[in-house]
């Protein structure tokens, strides 16, 4: 038994399914929910919302800023070339380089955080059904304990319009 899951036509029935799985003793992280659009009108759409992405973006910005500062400082000071009587290391022009690299750092850190925390597949979380694309909402349990599959099936079948499948 790899997975047991139900497909629901509406957010409300999916919400019921989630609630019943919880009542059957499952924690949020053991329930798999898939939808073709963000479901923020429903409680289940807010599971696992906490993220440090903002902080990682700031961190990336700081790294970028340091690279920008270091790059301009090290290269200009190690080979001072006089151009037009400007100071060898001048704040104003180099601030532009520092700014651009700060933003680049923040952007790249955001993307890396997204890919690592959101997109890289975790072990044992591969449940998928192409019908999700057509607007069905999938609620299911991956790698359930065999003895409890019956309970889960019952819980998933309860809401209106449910179609329960097993893999």
């Amino acid at each position: 038994m790899k997975a047991v899951y139900g497909l629901y036509p509406s957010g409300a029935s999916a919400q019921q399914a989630v609630n019943r799985l919880r009542a059957a003793g499952l924690a949020d992280r053991e329930i798999t929910i898939l939808s073709a659009q963000p479901m923020e009108d429903f409680e289940f759409g807010h599971i696992d919302k906490a993220t440090y992405m903002w902080w990682f973006a700031c961190l990336g910005g700081l790294v970028g800023m340091s690279i920008g500062f270091g790059l301009s400082w090290v290269t200009e000071m190690s080979w001072p070339i006089n151009v037009g009587g400007l100071p060898t290391w001048a704040w104003w022009p180099n601030l532009i380089i520092i700014f651009e690299l700060t933003m680049l750092g923040a952007i790249l850190a955001t993307i890396i955080t997204l890919v690592v925390t959101g997109l890289l597949p975790s072990k044992g979380q591969t449940l998928y059904d192409p019908e999700v694309t057509d607007g069905q909402i999938l609620v299911g349990v991956e790698n359930p304990v065999d003895s409890r599959v019956g309970d889960f099936q019952k819980a998933l079948e309860a809401p209106n319009g449910a179609r329960v499948k097993t893999l």
């Binding site: 070339i81 006089n82 151009v83 037009g84 009587g85 400007l86 022009p93």
Partner: protein, 230 residues
Amino acid sequence: MARWGMAADLDRCNGCGGCVVACHAENNISTVGPEQASRGRAKHWIRVERYWEGDFPDVKLKFRPTMCQQCGNAPCEPVCPTYASHHTEDGLNAQVYNRCIGTRYCANACPYNARFFDFFNPSWEKPLQLQLNPDVSLREVGVMEKCTFCVQRIRGTQTTAKTEGREIRDGEIQPACVQACSTRALVFGDLEDRESEVSRLSRSPRGSKLLEDVGTRPAVTYLARLTEEA
């Protein structure tokens, strides 16, 4: 450390253009032919600008030999992305051809239009290719070039003086234009040395810099022409 400069006495200049020819010969500046020249591709590191004043028949003709002014605060330098245009310690505004990628930004920034772009690879009509100066590199297509104050002569004389264990004498270094000037309108030398002729002329009350208000601190001083009214 010297600071090289030039003085151009407009009272002496008769606009003969000898400096232009000498410069072309000394610095391996390729000629482009009349057709390209009419399209603005001629490269005259030094040019004799002609200005007419007054209405016919009371016309006065003025000449101004114009070359790179070797600015102290050169607008062409900071805009170069590859340091092809930069300042040497002796105040020369250097152009490193090998670093140039041809953005032409320096030429736009130059208020004197003293910089020239190589639109084509250089070529000479036979037998002119036999008289190329071995001390000056040829410039390939796509780079900027300009007056160097004949830096090859400066460095050559510096080396000679060093091996002979002496200072450089005033007037010992002569860029090609100075050497060729039959009226001795152009004088070259060290501006730091207050005794040198160029230094003396630069302090003359007749002296002024070209486009001084742009703030470029040029190393070339023009001595005004004395007219009857003045």
